[in-house]
Amino acid sequence: MANNKEELLKQLADAVVDMDEEKAVELAQIIVAEGIDAYEAIEKGLSAGMEVAGRLFEEEEYFIPELLMCSDAMYAGLGVLKPHLKAKEGAAEEKVKVVIGVIEGDTHDIGKNLVKILLETSGYEIIDLGRDISPQKFIDAAKEQDAKIIAISTLMTTTMDGLAEVIRLLRQQDIREQFKVMVGGAPVSQAFADKIGADSYAVNAATAVRLARQLTDGVA
């Protein structure tokens, strides 16, 4: 049974890495039927698979289509497992919340969506505001949700200043220290992030996860 369980979780992770949506669903159903803990299956199967996919992306083995296909398989498996999650007593740890979105005036959201997927599978709770989001809306959502991280992206130079505006508004409202601000997107650089006073700059989606962990170290 123990062997079988480890084997099933491994296969579930592989199904995610192999972009095999049907297989992920089929394995998730077997896992449920076998009475394996759904939480464990999500963590050691689906999330583990996405972590490998993220690594392959960083190593330029995988690209955007592959990551999208992996996340489709992951979400399909999640759909099967989620109804079987038992509410954990006491042990239930509060997830760190991240407010994420594409800044006002910009609708390029592939990068944002990838960051969201990878953060979600790394145990963060994501509040996805979508695209074309005003600076104040980021702040309102972060306050309302008691988020620790505000993650903002843009692909265009015309909208870059919106990123700075979020930080300006946080300072103006005297709440800059309450949140960590992460920025990313093609025209954004470490130098720009430093200039506007962001806490970190993620060059790609996989890096964003590592940086989020650093930013919330001790909090998560």
Binding site: M19, E60, Y62, F63, I64, P65, E66, L68, M69, D72, G105, D106, T107, H108, I110, N113, M156, T157, T158, T159, M160, A186, P187, S189, A191, F192
Partner: protein, 359 residues
């Protein structure tokens, strides 16, 4: 005082032709195309240009006459062909770029309903053609007039929605190829009219960037259609187009050259010296001053420095070099920075070219 002695001896058109054909020229050309800043100079907000051939042409004429642009352009750019077949583009009335609001193909079956556009009727294609007509008439004898089109891969993504299209590459490759073929044919329909007007064509295919798709998928889904588009453009206009792909394209340079493109326009993440070594015997290189760090956020001094670094790497490219940007000019880049770039081409790029000019 020094500036007075920097007179050009060739028209931009003569210069470009000389560079592309390996003949002597007075100085390195500067290939930056200016839209928004030229509109400001001409008193025309960029959003008024989208629906007026005359205003588009006036803006481009101001770009040349007032700002010194050495090439003028009008065209469908990235969303235009997709727009002409049914995708809906939103035009912000502020300093921001238009974007696709709704795609034409929401379900794969929708593709069967689409028709190859009539360039004199559909979308804003007639506006671009009208602007090109004016530009060819007014400036065509001495300034290159170019129409910029998206590569078929980018157009397909703009017809289907980028994420969904990227999924189709795996889920339904047969459909992806059909959509790509449709995108190609739609683009060719437009290019045919551009050629009749006597304008040239340039291609940008940002969605086919190695930042998004693997070199393997580039070869399967982007390359064959680019090659065919380039062949048609060569045949129709008599000139090999330039090809721009964003991001780090190092792994697909050979493929970009194999499309038959005459000029590779390279992102500022690329080392021009490495590109020169790899493909400089086969194509003219174009680039790659940093659009954001230098042109948008930098000063004229930064522009001069960046231009010198590019010139030092590119000036001796066997197939020629054109000083330009690594991607499009940001709308908010200050006019002084643009002028500094043209000035740098005149000051440092003069014949005879020597490394000591730029160091």
């Amino acid at each position: 005082m020094a500036i007075l002695s920097l007179r050009d001896e060739m028209t931009p058109k003569e210069r470009l032709e000389a560079v592309l054909n390996g003949r002597p020229y007075d100085r390195v050309p500067c290939g930056v195309v200016i839209h928004n800043q030229a509109g400001k100079v001409a008193g025309i907000p960029h959003w008024e240009c989208y629906f007026s051939s005359e205003k588009t042409a006036q803006t481009q004429i101001a770009a040349h006459n007032i700002l010194g642009a050495e090439a003028v352009a009008a065209g469908p750019g990235l969303p235009g062909i997709a727009e002409a077949v049914g995708s809906i583009v939103y035009y912000p009335k502020e300093e921001n770029s238009p974007y696709i609001m709704e795609v034409a193909v929401k379900q794969p079956a929708d593709l069967d309903q689409l028709k190859i556009p009539n360039p004199w009727l559909d979308g804003r294609l007639p506006i671009h053609l009208g602007a090109l007509q004016i530009l060819v008439d007014r400036l065509g004898d001495f300034v290159p007039v170019t129409s910029n089109v998206a590569g078929p891969f980018t157009t397909a993504a703009n017809i289907r929605g980028t994420e969904d299209f990227l999924r189709e590459l795996y889920r339904n490759p047969e459909f992806a190829h059909r959509l790509l073929q449709f995108s190609l044919e739609s683009t060719i329909a437009y290019v045919k009219e551009v050629a009749k007007l006597g304008a040239k064509v340039s291609i940008a295919d940002p969605t086919a960037s190695p930042t998004l798709i693997s070199p393997k998928q580039f070869r399967e889904f982007a390359f064959p259609y680019l090659r065919e588009l380039v062949a048609m453009i060569r045949q129709l206009t008599g000139s090999a187009p330039s090809l721009h792909i964003c991001g780090n394209t190092t792994k697909i340079w050979q493929d970009m050259v194999a499309t038959g493109a005459g000029i590779l326009s390279l992102d500022d993440t690329i080392d021009l010296a490495a590109a020169k070594k790899a493909v400089g015997e086969e194509v003219t290189l174009f680039g790659n001053v940093k659009p954001t760090a230098t042109m948008y956020l930098g000063t004229p001094k930064d522009v001069r420095q960046d231009a010198k670094e590019c010139l030092a790497k590119g000036y001796d490219n066997p197939k020629g070099y054109i000083l330009s940007l690594g991607c499009g000019l940001p709308m908010g880049a200050p006019v002084e920075n643009i002028q500094a770039l043209f000035q740098a081409a005149r000051e440092f790029g003069r014949y005879p070219l020597r490394l000591s000019n730029f160091s």
